[in-house]
Symmetry: C2
Subunit: 316 residues, 2 copies
Amino acid sequence: MPNPRIATVIGTGTIGRSWALVFARAGCETRLYDASAPQADRAKDWLLKNVTLAVQERLMTSEEGMVVEQCVVVCRDLGSALRGAEYVQESGPENLEAKQRMFAELDRLAEREAILATSTSTLDISAIAGGCPGGHRCFVAHPVNPPHVIPVVEVLAMPSAAEAQIKRACAFLSSVGQSPVLVNHYVVGFILNRLQAALVKEAINIVLSGVADVNAVDATVRDGVGLRWAVMGPFGVANTNADEGIRHYYRRYGSAYIALMNDLGPTPAFDEAMIEAVAAEVDQMTGSESTADQQHRRDQLILRIRQLKRETSRGV
Amino acid sequence: MPNPRIATVIGTGTIGRSWALVFARAGCETRLYDASAPQADRAKDWLLKNVTLAVQERLMTSEEGMVVEQCVVVCRDLGSALRGAEYVQESGPENLEAKQRMFAELDRLAEREAILATSTSTLDISAIAGGCPGGHRCFVAHPVNPPHVIPVVEVLAMPSAAEAQIKRACAFLSSVGQSPVLVNHYVVGFILNRLQAALVKEAINIVLSGVADVNAVDATVRDGVGLRWAVMGPFGVANTNADEGIRHYYRRYGSAYIALMNDLGPTPAFDEAMIEAVAAEVDQMTGSESTADQQHRRDQLILRIRQLKRETSRGV
């Protein structure tokens, strides 16, 4: 393994630049490559600005900030971006043919042992890299936007991948502070977007049926069940909902759950009428706070919650 | 309004005693009444122990702790428990006839202006208090267990309730640090349990179909989407997922959401095979940590997350 470890970011838009911060923050030499050179330069600027802000907001010491800044290099050609890299994260456009071409190129040019990962949220790794000689070292590593704030990464390997290879990819992601979760086989939406869609589906139904307004639904999550879910997932929560654990809880409330689950609403139409009905109430809820300020507030709070969780004995 | 304000807790089990802590912590004179006198005494003991712990863990100063301790009174008869009380929270067994009898009694004995609330998670307030002369001042105030940790309270009024009366009930709950959310009309599960059931339904399906294991699903929530939901609800999240806000986000991803929502799994059977399949993996995930320790860790972390949210400009 090279020293320091080298991570390469291919495609430096919103997701790619955030990945670069993850790698650099963890002390990797971080290479930025983009077919558009000015885009890569902008990504580096964003990263430096973000580090300055993190230091100001005491999420990073100024020493840590300086180390991060020194780790990041923009590369003008793909070959030099990949030289010596242990881990490569591709975050280009969500287009199968483009990703197939890129992975053929990455597989040809990268180090023989390099892990090659894509940020795709919709495509199967078999479709992207099934034709590559080095397909066994190719993965989906789907982050949540932005990965420097949210640690979870959904990892989907090729069916041909060896157990040790999958462990290596997950170990790398853990070593840079992310939380890899293994998706055993391809399904649309992987894990996170399926769970999210299930909740959003019912949230929209509650609003459209007049049971509650947008702010009431959001408050029920942010001041209610979401507080639990920042600490434990649905199974951990079920296990702590009865003193005797999840078996007791599911036995006792199983029939209530079944009745509720059977009563949930249908898939809503995402038409202009629905969108405007919901969005008008969102405008009321958010008031004069700009979207950028909302995003900033959300990300800063999440980073502090993660700090809090790290300070306790378990959790990320 | 009396000074200090008086809140009465009827039924002092797990939920009732936690309500008592909410009221006492907010400086209300807090009366505990239970048909079983030893139960009320145990609730007071629990409360005092909890305050000592909160002081030790610096969630409360010792001065605040002393104030709370002095606020709590066990009452041996219902009449004296209700005298002068502004707010009454009933948390007896989840049984319609028992609650009807209790509300008839409360309506007869309580102050004319007192707000009468029930912690029911399943019953309609019209069914419980529809026959009471003072039904207009009766409410469901459904907490999340335990209410001294999770602030959200689902409020359901009688159809005959005046707007001002609903506002008064919500204002009282806000004044003691809770987050009331209005349920406009009765549906099974109100808001929170419907949202939770939607997510749990898909979580179980993901495990049963072999897409991911219990720990992967839980990690996807606690290190992923749950971090967002502790800060913003699903609509606030959607609004920050695109720089241009929720309209743009829903227009762009509407068809992807529809495809995902249509692909979600069916209601699982809560039979022993399912329960054991899930529970065995939960055992692995939680390892040697006892359920009590898991509960304690969860609650302490949530209380600290709330502290963090209070320290930032917005949010509870």
